[in-house]
Symmetry: C2
């Protein structure tokens, strides 16, 4: 396997102000094409440190991916350091990136300042992959064998996460082109409803019987559930795809409807796909999730084709006056109750005229729990064209994570309800 | 300053399955006592890699903090590697940790297996700081100057985040006892409304005149704006704090109300703080932002004290039927218009009874734009107790980023409106 190293440059990482999440995404992508990550290193915005650290990584790895330190301001010194490292004596301006800079700033109604235009200037020792999402281009430095003892390549990416993530496909294509790897096939299977340890125990016999050239990775995420990634190495593509198809079939027999997709997706896209398929519409009523479910649903492009809207009823007065939850229900059962979420779901479905609706009421924390209704308890209500269902779960996380779990679980119950209706047609 | 390195051991980091958050917390704690973190490194569960990587870090740093690889299973080999590195020829059992192991497992109703008890056995070359939260103790290896060229210390912590975090105070106390440190002061200044490059140009003369021992970093984020971080080294705490106070004052003269806080915070917390200060309440009406503003506001603990709720009016029928936007307004001006967001803001304020309200209507993309109303256009409406204001901006990002920018800008206009009212009192 080809060895690689992922480097992050920035004082803000070293003082703990920012958690580096880019490296993890890059590592997933590299592993996906059979490139081994041997090390991840973060170091500061200091020219000599950058040069000596990168020299070390290039001696020991064929591929080095660097993020960060490419901003327009003067604390960002990755570019001059790379110029020195690669022996560049002049810069050239990349016309494609310059055009992108003009377009991005013009769209924001901003003038192109010298420091902006300077971002398109790169050392004459590198190739450029234009960055359509931001002003700093991706720079590719290819070093001959005599420099570090083996041919190696350094990719320099912006540190801003959405720009770094946006650049990954181009980097991966370039690596595939220059470093012929074995055939490798992947399949992603999305599951929801089982914790990673439960899932691992349930599929242990299946996992133990997997052929040696299949690798299984668990990628848990509070918003998507556990993503299983099957990778098959060392055969030809057709044989590998066949093995993956068979193993997915076996897995489906074990996990049933905990599997919600056989591609890399999420619950909100899956719900959208199901609604489009059945030609139905959706609305939400959110209390403890505070708008996050609606945010997730509308993060999908084209969601206006099936999504009508929502009411975030944070105050009880909003539950009563806008959603029409009877005051007596809240008095008798409390806002966090099966009865209340049922009325919330029915209320928002009535006032928006949607086919389906989903409602949440719970206690995200940190304060507010009681022994009967602890922090982490959520009630979820689902209205379909012919029934209302409610569910409750208790999570034990902090506020942020509880809100994520509540929202994802609500989307999963909704997904199951719509799937059931489609299957019963 | 004393230099340190933070190392993370575990294959799960290198395949991108887990994001390392321990290092960030440890870095914050080290910076807080004036210990500089020069590098963070992650490497795999391989004995020779562990030894050679740690030797390298110890040569270059007085303090090395290692997390991970201390579990009971056989793929965790940090302990034997540390035994070899430190020249240990025997293990000893730490009685305090053994007692903790018995107590923790008993509490879970589990028997103490040999592999559990073995966790209290440590190389005879280390000191132990008992870990009250888990079974693996913290090990402290002190190396004399002749070994790596300077006296240095290696701390080995468990990788489980809550155990690693739990061990930090003990480690910090040990470091303070053994390494008398310099003072260091930080200040974070939050700005919104200027792009990083605009901001840099505006404050360039100020930045150029900063004393040599002050370091400035720009940390842009679509949801919080550009965070400026000032760090002062090399004086005593009182003098450093005085310099920071003076420089912040100069900066405020340049940036004015683009500065929304002088601590590490965000717009939603700032809006919450202002509402609590003035005893007022808030509601939202969201179209293009789809619930994200409401999600951000309710991500703040205690937001129910000032936040009543929201309506996400994705469909025009919801704008009309729930928010009471006259159909004629939408027909005449379109949903993405000053007139429509004004009515949306007024409508949600009326039906919830809040003091303030904020409304958005725009085109997040990817499709849906026209030459007059391009993708990236957002109208923002703000209602205060005595006026309605509307604003428009055009962003040019992808859907996800546009929604974030729209939401943050809406919160910033709201922040300015509430500040204005407070200042006019």
């Amino acid at each position: 396997m080809i060895n690689s190293s992922i480097c992050t440059i920035g004082d803000e990482i070293l003082i703990g102000q920012i958690v580096d999440t880019n490296s993890s995404h890059i590592a997933q992508a590299l592993n996906g094409i059979g490139v081994r990550v041997t090390r991840m290193v973060s170091f500061g915005d200091d020219r000599q440190t950058i040069i000596s650290s990168l020299e070390r990584e290039l001696k020991e790895n064929r591929i080095v991916i660097v993020t960060g330190g490419l901003g327009p301001t003067k604390d960002d010194i990755t570019k001059p350091a790379l110029a020195e490292l690669s022996g560049s004596r002049a810069t050239r301006t990349d016309a494609r990136q310059l055009e992108i800079i003009h377009r991005l700033l013009k769209a924001k109604g901003l003038d192109v300042l010298d420091i902006n235009a300077a971002q398109a200037a790169v050392p004459d020792t590198c190739e450029v992959i234009p960055n359509r999402l931001g002003t700093a281009p991706v720079m590719v430095f290819r070093f001959p064998a005599e420099r570090f003892g083996h041919e190696c390549t350094l990719y320099s990416l912006p540190g801003v996460p959405f720009e770094a993530l946006g650049a990954i496909p181009d980097i991966i294509n370039d690596i595939k082109e220059h470093y012929p790897a074995d055939d490798i096939s992947h399949k992603t299977i999305m599951t929801y409803g089982l914790a990673e340890s439960q899932l691992a125990k349930l599929i242990e016999p299946w996992e133990n019987s997997l052929p040696e050239n299949i690798h299984l990775a668990y990628l848990p995420n509070p918003l998507t559930g556990v993503r299983l990634r099957l990778s098959v190495y060392g055969g030809d593509k057709t044989a590998e795809d066949k093995i993956i198809g068979e193993q997915t079939e076996s897995l489906r027999k074990i996990l049933g409807d905990c599997i919600y997709a056989e591609e890399d997706t999420n619950l909100q896209e899956t719900v959208g796909r199901l609604l489009l398929k059945s030609g139905k519409t959706l609305s939400c009523a959110e209390s403890c999730t505070g708008g996050m479910i609606s945010h997730l649903i509308t993060s999908v492009g084209g969601s206006s084709r099936y999504y009508l809207g929502s009411v975030t009823s944070y105050a009880n007065s909003v539950k009563e006056n806008i959603l029409g939850v009877p005051a007596g229900i809240i008095e008798k059962y409390g806002a966090v109750s099966s009865e209340c979420v049922a009325k919330m779901a029915e209320g928002v479905r009535r006032i928006t005229g949607s086919d389906y609706s989903v409602a949440t009421s719970g206690i995200a924390g940190p304060g507010g729990g009681t022994p009967e209704k602890p922090v982490g308890l959520v009630w979820i209500g689902i209205c379909t064209p012919d029934r209302t269902e409610t569910f409750s779960i208790v999570y034990k996380n902090d506020r942020k994570r509880n809100i994520e779990r509540f929202s994802a679980s609500a989307l999963d119950f909704l997904r199951r309800a719509i799937e059931k209706d489609i299957n019963n047609l």
